[in-house]
């Protein structure tokens, strides 16, 4: 069974996320910065009456910041009880992927990408990368915080 995935771009590269984890896509018009939050946290945005933190994918991936354009999107994803957004350069496509297509990334990529890339898939001429969403938004901040 092929699974629907949302495709988004960061610095020219294409990433995917299972559509089941994505609540919605919003255009990005700026976030309210939160003092003291981790550097990759762009801040807070309001999405349909609820306030959610957004992570800047570029900063998280160690890429230079660029001016946001009309194409910039917030991919709003659900992580257990948490709802977190990811700011990406653009997102305008969904793709059906067969789990068979998803292969573990080459070791070099694993190291270079801090584990952000969980798998890669070859779709025709394109290479898309399945991201590890919890890790990208900074899952490590959950550890040691709250429940001890």
């Amino acid at each position: 069974m092929s699974v629907l995935h949302v495709v988004f771009k960061v610095d020219g590269a294409e990433y995917v996320l299972p559509a089941a984890d994505v609540l919605q896509m919003e255009s990005f018009t700026g976030a309210t910065p939160v003092p003291g939050a981790a550097p990759h946290v762009a801040g807070l945005v309001q999405v349909r009456g609820r306030v959610i933190p957004v992570v800047d994918a570029r900063l998280r991936f160690g890429l230079p910041a660029v001016a946001r354009t009309l194409d910039s999107r917030v991919v709003v994803a659900q992580l257990g009880n948490r709802v977190v957004g990811l700011v990406v350069d653009s997102a305008r496509e969904v793709l059906k992927l067969d789990p068979q297509q998803l292969k573990p990334p080459p070791p070099l990529v694993v190291e270079g990408a801090h584990g952000f890339v969980k798998a890669v898939a070859q779709v025709g001429p394109r290479l898309v990368m399945l991201i590890d969403f919890p890790r990208v938004i900074g899952e490590e901040t959950l550890d040691g915080d709250g429940q001890r």
């Binding site: 700026g30 003092p35 003291g36 945005v45 009456g49 609820r50 306030v51 900074g138 001890r148």
Partner: protein, 685 residues
């Protein structure tokens, strides 16, 4: 069988109801236990407990949960005997009944988790059955001579057996049973004295057993009299005053105890009482999520109103005739305020109800620690927003647990120190002021040994209670050498601190005297969802702070600002003969030099931080307004100094700051670091 389908439909309602009934059951059983210890009968508790158990049985039979039906059946039998014995329960029955409630609770949990209810544990039913044999042998002591009630026929006829009994028991127990006649009238209503206000005021003076309207000619020319039957300790004058003075009247219901006690009317079986039908009448259980939704809608209205106000202001500025619009807008503001108050009231829960688990907790601790403890709850009818109450409870549980586990000595040690064997843990509320509720959790134990704490933490001995509290609140700090089952592992005061200070934006204080005991003072906001806020601009962004947290607002005269050398940007301003440090908020927020006016701040908010006044310089004050606070739960944005976000109508979240916490957090870290402060340091506070 279609039972499973039905079960799924009824389960949520069943679970909620069972949970509540179990709460009642526990409460009444603990009350029974207390009465037994003082050698008193407590027919009321027996009946309430019986009702709770009986209802659980009925509900459980409906959803086909056999094990619970069995347990409740035997508990019921035992309680019926206790009722026949005039509300006396043999002491040996408490433990098996408690066990019964525990087993029911466990099964309710299993059902909630989607599992099957486990079968009845072996032995429990036989223990309960044994109680029946014991109870029927009639161990009940003779009753105290009951007081006789002097009631006129019209009133007496309308009292149920239970109500009559309540009056008699109360009077026999030393309280006064009185009849207060209130005659309503137009002039009284004009002064706000109505049956409702009288009811409320009388409720503060004693227990209202029944209110009966009687028609017919009344004193003062009225045609209706409300007869309030009360159990009270208040003097007649106070009652009379509560009813608005004459023509209201007060009469005692009890004559001198009759020499030969009148036989009491045979009591109906509790489950057949007509009162049953009335129970819960007029109140409704609502899921919190629905209340949240109402609040959410209200928030949208508030936001919309500020947009409307802005639009009208623009029209006015353009010279349009907006007089009527202004009037409508004002009316609208008033309506929104009323609506806000109404929704807030819906969300309020009694602190006493929130704390109903504590007696059970202490009972368990008494058994596990071998200490003799008495829990005193004195919280009156203070109320809190449900959201605050839910967060507060774990902190209180923690403090009470700590008090029993760490603070109270074993009986021998207490005797040696000249204290009574029984330790006291007291949770009290001392009224509310300015949207805040004060609570204390105190014990008469050994007190906190500052030297031992310092040695354990590897720091110098703290000089002040605040400093001591700070050490105690370090993450993972424990005064116990080995973790034990009672204190949990490494769970320390840091959790309490985080809940009270970081999550609720409240205050936590400590008083301790060696050998005499410890008191924790908690001050929490009544609500964290709606508050009055000051909105201001700083470095190109808008922020809000709770009005209550700001002591004063001052203009900053640049010429008067002193810049001490080497203070790292901290300036000093003079305020009524005192020197106050002035911090530039933009710097604290890590936004110095970003999109705002450079140079000294134009205004400053004066805030007390650990008792010291600090001025926070901002660029511009926008105004004061009501905001709906959305707490920031996500760890990504849970940082000290930021309590939440709000929507001021521009579609962008606006941060709501806790300036004192922000100042403290930044004082400990390096303000120059990019992005402010690392999260780890923030958590150390």
């Amino acid at each position: 069988m279609s039972a499973s389908v039905d079960l799924a439909d009824f389960l949520p309602a069943y679970l909620a109801e069972a949970e509540e009934l179990l709460g009642t059951g526990h409460r009444q059983l603990l009350a029974m236990e207390a009465s037994i210890r003082r050698g008193l009968a407590n027919p009321r508790a027996v009946r309430e407990l019986f009702r709770a158990v009986h209802t659980i049985k009925g509900l459980s039979a409906m959803v086909d949960v056999e094990p619970i039906v069995d347990i409740t059946h035997w508990m019921e039998t035992c309680l019926r005997h206790a009722d026949r014995a005039g509300g006396r329960l043999p002491e040996a029955s408490v433990e098996p009944l408690m066990e019964g409630l525990r087993e029911i609770e466990q099964r309710v949990r299993q059902l909630a988790a989607g599992k099957q209810a486990a079968p009845v544990p072996p032995g429990l039913l036989s223990r309960l059955e044994a109680l029946e044999a014991e109870g029927s042998s009639g161990g009940g002591a003779p009753r105290a001579a009951p007081a006789a009630l002097a009631l006129e026929e019209a009133v007496a006829a309308r009292l149920s057996a239970a109500e009559r009994e309540q009056l008699v028991t109360g009077a026999t127990g030393g309280r006064r049973a009185v009849r207060l006649d209130f005659i309503p009238g137009a002039d009284r209503a004009a002064h706000g004295v109505t049956i409702n206000s009288v009811r409320e005021r009388v409720a503060a003076l004693g227990d209202t057993v029944k209110v009966l309207p009687l028609s017919g000619p009344a004193a003062g020319g009225g045609a209706l009299t409300f007869v309030l039957l009360l159990l009270t300790e208040a003097p007649d004058a106070a009652l009379l005053e509560a009813a608005g003075g004459p023509p209201a009247s007060v009469r005692a219901l009890t004559a001198a105890p009759a020499s030969a006690p009148e036989p009491l009317p045979e009591l109906a079986a509790p489950d057949e009482e007509p009162e049953e039908a009335r129970r819960g009448g007029g109140s409704l259980r609502v899921e919190v999520s629905r209340l949240d939704e109402a609040l959410e809608r209200l928030a949208a209205l508030v936001v919309n109103r500020s947009r409307l106000a802005r639009a009208v202001a623009a029209l006015t500025a353009a010279g349009a005739p907006t007089r009527e619009l202004q009037a409508i807008l004002q009316e609208n503001a008033r309506q929104l305020r009323d609506m806000r108050a109404a929704i807030l009231r819906l969300r309020m829960v009694r602190v006493g109800d929130v704390l109903e688990r504590l007696p059970l907790l202490v009972r368990g601790l008494r058994r596990s620690t071998g200490k003799s403890v008495r829990l005193e709850l004195d919280v009156g009818d203070a109320e809190l927003d449900k959201a605050v109450a839910d967060r507060l409870l774990p902190a209180l549980v923690h403090l009470v647990r700590n008090a029993v586990d760490h603070a109270l000595e074993l009986p021998e040690a207490r005797r040696a120190a000249g204290k009574p064997d029984e330790g006291v843990v007291r949770v009290a509320s001392h009224g509310r002021a300015g949207g805040l509720l004060d609570l204390t959790v105190s014990d008469d134990g050994r007190g906190v040994d500052a030297q031992a704490v310092a040695a354990r933490a590897g720091v110098p001995v703290p000089a002040s209670p605040d400093a001591l509290l700070e050490v105690l609140c370090r993450p993972g700090f424990s005064t116990r050498d080995a973790a034990n089952a009672t204190s949990g592992r490494g769970m320390g005061m840091d959790i309490v601190h985080r809940i009270i200070v970081d999550q609720l934006g409240g205050e936590l204080g400590l008083e301790t005297r060696p050998g005499a005991g410890t008191t924790f003072r908690l001050r929490v906001p009544l609500t964290i969802t709606l508050l009055d806020a000051l909105v201001f601009e700083c470095a190109g962004l808008r922020y809000a702070v709770a009005v209550g947290s700001v002591e004063e607002l001052i203009e900053v005269d640049a010429a008067q600002v002193v810049r001490p050398a080497g203070a790292g940007g901290v300036c000093l301003v003079e305020r009524r003969g005192n020197t106050v440090p002035l911090l530039t908020l933009a710097r604290l927020l890590g936004r110095a030099g970003l999109g705002g006016c450079e140079g000294p701040a134009a205004k400053a908010l004066l805030v007390r931080q650990r008792g010291e006044l600090i001025a926070f310089g901002v660029d511009r004050l926008v105004g004061q307004q009501e905001i709906v606070l959305r707490p920031l739960e996500d760890p990504l944005v849970r940082v000290p100094g930021v309590v939440g976000a709000t929507d001021l109508g521009d579609g962008q979240p606006t941060l709501v700051l806790d300036l004192a916490a922000l100042g403290l957090a930044r004082a400990k870290g390096s303000p120059r670091r990019q992005g402010g402060l690392a999260r780890e340091e923030g958590r150390l506070i």
